[in-house]
Symmetry: C2
Subunit: 282 residues, 2 copies
C-alpha cells in the first residue's frame, strides 16, 4: 500500500491518475479504521477509478478538553485495511504539513453548525470544514465519501460544497452497526464491557423511535420522551436528543417530510453519537 506524507506527493499521484483518464475519489478519515470506514472505501472503489484515503487526526476540530491526544492511531493496521479494500493510496500528512505556522484561513458554515454537536463543541465544525476544504483542494476529487453516522458533519459538508461551488459530489453512506445495533465508531475502543452495554441503549432508543413513527406517532415531544425513558435504563448522560429538520437542523414539533433523530451522550468518559434519518415522503 503506497503511503505518502506530503501534499506534493499525493498531488503527483492524483495528477498521474488523471492523466490516465481516471476518476478520483477521496475518503477523508482520522484513521483507526473500522468496518464503517471500510464501507465508505468499498463505495469509493466501486464508484471511482482511483481512491485516496486521507488519514489525518485533525487538531483544529478538537476542543481543548477533548480527546485529541489519546485519539486511537495505528497507521500500519489502517494500511492493511486500505490495501484489502482496494484503495490506491493513503495520504497521511503531519500536522505541520497541513497547517504551516502562518495558517490563518478558516471556512465557516453559519446556522446549521450552531445546533446538535455544534452547540457543545465550539469550533469543531470550523475545523472539519477547513480541513475538508484543504483536502478537496489538494486531491481535487470527483467524489468524497462520508458516513451517515456523523450526520451533522455530512449535512454541513454538503452545504459548504453547494455554497462555495466546490466541483465535487458528496456521497453519504449508511451507518454500519454491530449485530446488536451499536453504531461503529473509533471511540468505541474507549468503552469497558459494562459501558458498551449501556451504550447499546442509544441505538435501541433510536430503533424504538423509528418504530413509533412507522406506527403513526408524529409528535416529537412524545418521541423524545419515549427515547429518554429507554436511555434512562443505563448510565448514559444525554448531551442532546433531538428531532430536527434535515435542512436547518432546528427542532421540529411534528414529524413531516425528512427529519433527523440525533443523539449525543456520554457513557463513562466516552462521548458517542448516533442518529437515524426518517423520510415520510418515501
Amino acid at each position: 500500500m503506497e503511503v505518502v506524507k506530503t501534499i506534493k506527493d499525493v498531488r503527483a499521484a492524483v495528477l498521474s491518475a488523471r492523466a490516465d483518464g481516471k476518476t478520483i475519489g477521496i475518503v477523508p478519515t482520522m484513521g483507526a479504521l473500522h468496518a464503517g470506514h471500510i464501507s465508505l472505501i468499498d463505495r469509493a472503489v466501486a464508484d471511482c477509478d482511483f481512491v485516496v484515503i486521507s488519514i489525518f487526526v485533525n487538531p483544529t476540530q478538537f476542543g481543548p478538553n477533548e480527546d485529541f491526544d489519546k485519539y486511537p492511531c495505528d497507521l500500519d493496521a489502517d494500511a492493511v485495511i486500505c490495501e484489502k479494500a482496494g484503495a490506491d493510496i493513503i495520504f497521511a500528512p503531519s500536522a505541520s504539513e497541513m497547517y504551516p505556522s502562518q495558517n490563518s484561513t478558516w471556512v465557516d458554515v453559519d446556522g446549521i453548525t450552531d445546533h446538535l454537536c455544534g452547540a457543545s463543541r465550539a469550533g469543531h465544525f470550523r475545523g472539519v470544514t477547513t480541513v475538508c476544504t484543504k483536502l478537496f483542494n489538494v486531491v481535487c476529487p470527483d467524489q468524497a465519501f462520508f458516513g451517515q453516522k456523523d450526520a451533522q458533519q455530512a449535512i454541513v459538508i454538503k452545504r459548504m460544497v453547494a455554497d462555495l461551488n466546490m466541483p465535487l459530489e458528496i456521497v453519504v453512506c449508511p451507518t454500519v452497526r454491530q449485530q446488536d445495533g451499536l453504531a461503529l465508531s473509533s471511540r468505541n475502543k474507549y468503552l469497558s464491557d459494562a459501558e458498551r452495554k449501556d451504550a447499546l441503549l442509544i441505538s435501541k432508543a433510536l430503533k424504538a423511535c423509528d418504530k413509533a413513527i412507522v406506527g403513526g406517532e408524529y409528535d416529537a415531544e412524545k418521541l423524545v420522551a419515549l427515547m429518554k425513558s429507554i436511555i434512562r435504563g443505563g448510565a448514559v448522560d444525554i448531551e442532546y436528543l433531538s428531532i430536527v429538520d434535515t435542512r436547518t437542523l432546528e427542532n421540529v414539533s411534528e414529524i413531516e417530510g425528512q427529519v433527523l433523530v440525533a443523539i449525543a451522550a456520554r457513557v463513562g468518559k466516552t462521548r458517542l453519537i448516533d442518529n437515524i434519518f426518517v423520510d415520510l415522503n418515501k
Copy 2:
C-alpha cells in the same frame, strides 16, 4: 464577445477549453473596466490559453453604508474592452446565481484582515475571500490576476490560497496610473474636477515617501509625517496612512525588508485607496 450568466455555462466553456489542452486564467472584476483592468487582462492573455473575465458587483463585500447601489456598471462597454483585449469569455452572473437563498458558508482570513481597509470595512474581506473562493471553484483556473492597487486584497487572497491549498497561482500586476500619478479606479468616476485635483495629493505623498526612503530615511514616523504634510494641502480626509510589514500588515517603526506604504482617504464622498510597495532587499 461571449457573455454567459450561469455557473453551468461558464463551466461548460472552461471544460471545453481544458479538453483542448488549454490553460485557464481568470481576471475577477466588478466591471466598470479601465486601463488597470486591461493590464490584468493583457497579462492573463499573455500567460494563459483561455481567459475568463468575471464581472460581478459582489454585494457581500460592501458594507450597509457603502456604494453598492451606485457602483458604476456598463456591461456592453466592458464587453467591448474584453473583446479588444483578447479575453475569451465574460462570466457575468446575477446575485442570485452566486448567492442562492440558502447560502451560509464564508471564508475568513484572520489577522491580516483586521488592519488597513479591514479596520473600517467590517466584513469586506470576508465577502472578497468568499466570492473569490466561489469563482475559483467555478472556473478552476491555473492562474488568477489581481492588481497591486488593491494591495491588501492581493495579500489576503494569496494567504487564503496558500492556507487552503487552492490549486492555482495568484499573479499580482502593477498599479496603472494616469500620467499625473492618479491610480486608476472605477471610483474615480465619482470625482468632480476639484476633487480629482485634491485626490492627486495621495499619489504625490506616496511618491515623496518612496523618494525619501531611497534617500535613506527609514524612520516610519517621519515618513508618515512627511506624507501627511503633503496630503493636508487639499481637502482630503485620511482614513489611514500606514507603513506596514507585507506579511502581517502591522505597522513598522523602521523600514526594513519589504514594506507596504498604504493610504485610504475620502475626497468629498469618494473613498480612494493607493499604495506603494518598497523592497529594500532589491
